[in-house]
């Protein structure tokens, strides 16, 4: 890969994070180019989801740096300077608005219709007028095949439909990168492939994506690179081909246990 850092859309630089005594991420480094699809695999508790949540500071890293679109972001929290903390907090939404995220448990807003779920960010973050926002939101929902569900509340939707709403909600904001955090893990088996197809559509459109998943077949199909994580560290990064033929003992053990 090119060593010039400005070629990367996203750089994760020596990111560490612990929850109390538990070191969830230990000095993680990863660079992602524009248009690249990276799948992160590894056993549960290896820090995959936490890494995603560090990228948009929903769970801010303890140390390290995120460079996104040439802008550097670090965690900041002063014990005494409350004003500085406020100023810092005010900046974060700008970063997050450029990074779409879809969660394992959908996290759609149950008190809003499908259309309101998607148009909320357009109105409040992209500052669109209400009518314009609804129009864009409706288009976004149409792309995920939900144009007949605009006025429906989430508790009338299936898991797969809720996840489509969540995908539309993220995509409507026209993000530069999408983060998928085990988005099929909470779905009934028959609904999984539909959501994977949505992600495949984004791959074809050239969206930059980081996908944490347990769907190995899918990961090896769509990824340009695969990242294997274990115990808070990136153990190996490579093309699907390289990872499939890995000789690294932990990666090998994980893959054979899962592919059996």
């Amino acid at each position: 890969m090119n060593q010039n850092s400005s070629d990367y859309l996203l750089e994760i630089k020596s990111v560490s994070k612990s929850f109390g005594e538990l070191h969830v991420l230990k000095d993680v480094n990863l660079n992602i180019a524009k248009g690249e699809v990276v799948c992160i695999i590894g056993p549960s508790g290896s820090g995959k989801s936490t890494l995603l949540r560090c990228i948009n500071f929903i769970s801010p890293p303890d140390s390290g740096e995120i460079v996104f679109d040439k802008v550097s972001w670090r965690s900041y929290r002063s014990k005494f300077n409350v004003l500085a903390n406020f100023r810092y907090e005010k900046k974060l939404p700008a970063l997050r608005a450029e990074i779409g995220m879809v969660f394992q448990h959908f996290n759609v807003f149950p008190h809003m219709t499908t259309l309101e779920n998607v148009s909320l960010g357009l109105q409040k973050v992209r500052k669109m007028k209400k009518d314009k926002a609804k129009e864009v939101a409706a288009q976004s929902l149409e792309q995920v095949g939900l144009s007949d569900k605009l006025q429906v509340y989430p508790d009338q939707l299936s898991g797969g439909q809720k996840q489509r709403v969540a995908i539309a909600r993220a995509l409507a904001l026209n993000p530069k990168v999408m983060l998928f955090d085990e988005v099929t893990s909470a779905l009934d088996p028959e609904l999984v492939s539909g959501i994977l197809d949505e992600i495949r559509r984004l791959v074809r459109e050239g969206m930059t994506m980081i996908i944490v998943t347990h769907e190995m077949k899918f990961a090896f199909q769509v990824a340009h690179r695969i990242v294997f994580m274990d115990q808070g560290k990136i153990v190996q990064v490579g093309t699907p081909e390289e990872i499939r033929n890995t000789q690294e003992p932990r990666a090998k053990a994980f893959l054979s246990s899962i592919l059996e």
Binding site: K90, R96, F103, H105, F109, L120, K124, R169, A170
Partner: protein, 225 residues
């Protein structure tokens, strides 16, 4: 014991005054509830602050507010503040503030419980689309928490409504105060206080049924398309 002749006519004769008192009771309880909601939300927010100091301060104020009898609080605010700091509130203001503090201490806990009941994933998702903290609370967390806290909030309002009868001790001319002075003239305390009691039952029932309707309205919104 002698035979007691009930004379319910006394109520009819003094109905206009009693109704005036009732209106004062309603006004002071609503004003108190408004304060309680503000205090409650404020202190509940502090409880969720990332600054330990604010958590501790808010927690202490809530604990003290809950432990203090309304009666003592009233005296402190009405007489104490005036004597010691020359801060003079009218009897109505002092009553509303005292009710607000007591109710607010309870509301803080209710708000805290309601907010905690909302899944963390909801604010994660709100942050992820770029909403700030304020927008996340106002647009995502609070609207969902309100459905959870509504029944308890009604209970607290009913408590304040009854608590509002104590404000007569600092001379607020609420319904109990009216009943008291009319009975001094007419020697009919039994009839007058019983009337007040019945009015309170009616009030509580109407508040409860209003809340029930509201609750149905709110939960229906997400169920029906």
């Amino acid at each position: 014991m002698g035979k007691y002749d009930f004379s319910w006519r006394i109520i009819e004769e003094h109905l206009p005054e009693l109704m005036k008192g009732l209106i004062i009771t309603l006004q002071i309880s609503v004003a108190g509830m408004a304060f309680a909601l503000l205090f409650g939300l404020f202190f509940a927010t502090l409880r969720f602050s990332q600054y330990r100091v604010l958590n501790v301060i808010s927690n202490s104020i809530v604990q003290v507010g809950r432990s203090l009898p309304l009666f003592v609080l009233l005296f402190w605010i009405y007489y104490g503040l005036s004597l010691k700091f020359k801060i003079n509130f009218s009897d109505f203001q002092a009553g509303a503030i005292a009710l607000g503090i007591t109710g607010g201490a309870y509301m803080a806990e209710v708000f805290r419980g309601g907010i905690k009941a909302i899944d963390q994933g909801q604010s994660d998702a709100a942050f992820a689309i770029g909403l700030n903290r304020m927008q996340t609370s106002r647009l995502i967390v609070l609207p969902q928490a309100i459905r959870i806290i509504l029944p308890q909030t009604v209970n607290i309002y009913v408590g304040l409504l009854k608590g509002a009868t104590i404000v007569s001790v600092i001379g607020v001319s609420d319904m109990i105060y009216v009943a008291q002075y009319v009975s001094l003239e007419t020697f009919r305390p039994f009839e007058l206080y019983s009337f007040a009691g019945v009015v309170f039952i009616a009030l509580t029932l109407s508040v409860a049924s209003f809340a029930w309707l509201l609750e149905r309205q709110l939960s229906g919104k997400s169920r029906r398309g």
